[in-house]
């Protein structure tokens, strides 16, 4: 079965991102497919490469990057939500006149249509948020 996943909250602040991660791993382990993971609202903060969590804690951003690489997952950060919150890739940084970007490897920035599409194309949409 094909799952679409929406994540609404930032890493560490809220458990939503953790629960989504464990759900997705369990789904993949059981032979299911993940159509797309869409990061919306504060969820866009999952996609910054500037986090430096304490050594004795999980590294949520790296965990997404590694899972995406291993399973060829599509990690999409909403562009409108990202602009408001300061998440940018090289193109976005340039377009908005910023001197640097901060997106983490494995994530791409795109529009809200990608969320609608995830709902339509997946067998089930699950939302993890506050």
């Amino acid at each position: 079965m094909k799952f679409g996943i929406q994540i609404n909250e930032g890493p560490y602040t809220h458990e939503a991102s953790d629960t989504a991660y464990h759900f997705i791993k369990a789904a993949l382990d059981n032979g299911h497919e993940i159509f797309r993971i869409f990061f919306y609202h504060d969820g866009v903060h999952n996609g910054t490469r500037l986090t430096a969590p304490p050594q004795d804690d999980r590294n949520i951003v790296n965990r997404w990057t590694e899972l995406a690489e291993k399973h060829d997952l599509d990690l999409v950060v909403c562009v409108a939500a990202a602009q408001r919150r300061g998440i940018a890739d090289a193109d976005e940084a340039k377009r908005n006149g910023k001197d640097t970007d901060n997106i983490a490897p494995g994530f791409r920035i795109s529009g809200l249509g990608q969320l609608i599409e995830a709902g339509i194309q997946s067998d089930r949409l699950l939302v993890f948020g506050d």
Binding site: N8, Y40, H41, A81, G113, E117, Q121, V127, G129
Partner: protein, 135 residues
């Protein structure tokens, strides 16, 4: 994309205190381009999104409430408001913005978009959906 699905956007948050109401409305506007069978549900404090006369001047935030009136033009014409949530807040349909659309099947007659439904009716409608978006 050839599939047509029944999509419902569920709104349970008050506006302005947090951005969820506004950012979920942005999803609905973008979603209109996909020509699916869409509807919106307003439950609990989500109903406050539809109150008349919002004026954000003093708090310096963007007043996004006029956007709800544009939903009809985006062919979002099915807006369900839960009766029990209205009543718990001492509100009536008349306290909400008057949202309408032009029905192209009936010579573009103006019709009301908002339907007040009971919890039990709304539960039935939710059960008919293919996808439930939550924010």
């Amino acid at each position: 994309m050839s599939v047509t699905k029944k999509l419902m956007y569920i709104n349970r948050r008050a506006p302005y205190g947090t951005i969820y109401a506004w950012e979920s409305l942005e999803v609905v506007l973008i979603g209109a381009a996909f020509e699916q069978d869409v509807s919106m549900a307003f439950i609990d404090d989500g109903i406050y999104q539809l109150l008349k006369g919002q004026d954000t001047n003093d708090i310096g935030m963007k007043n996004f409430s006029p956007t709800y009136s544009a939903l009809g033009d985006f062919e979002v014409t099915q807006i369900f408001v839960e009766k029990e949530s209205l009543e718990a807040r001492g509100l009536a349909l008349d306290d909400l913005m008057h949202l309408t659309y032009e029905d192209e099947d009936e010579d573009y007659a103006e019709k009301d978009s908002i339907k007040v439904v009971s919890s039990s009716e709304l539960a039935d409608i939710m059960e008919q959906q293919d996808v439930l978006y939550n924010f």
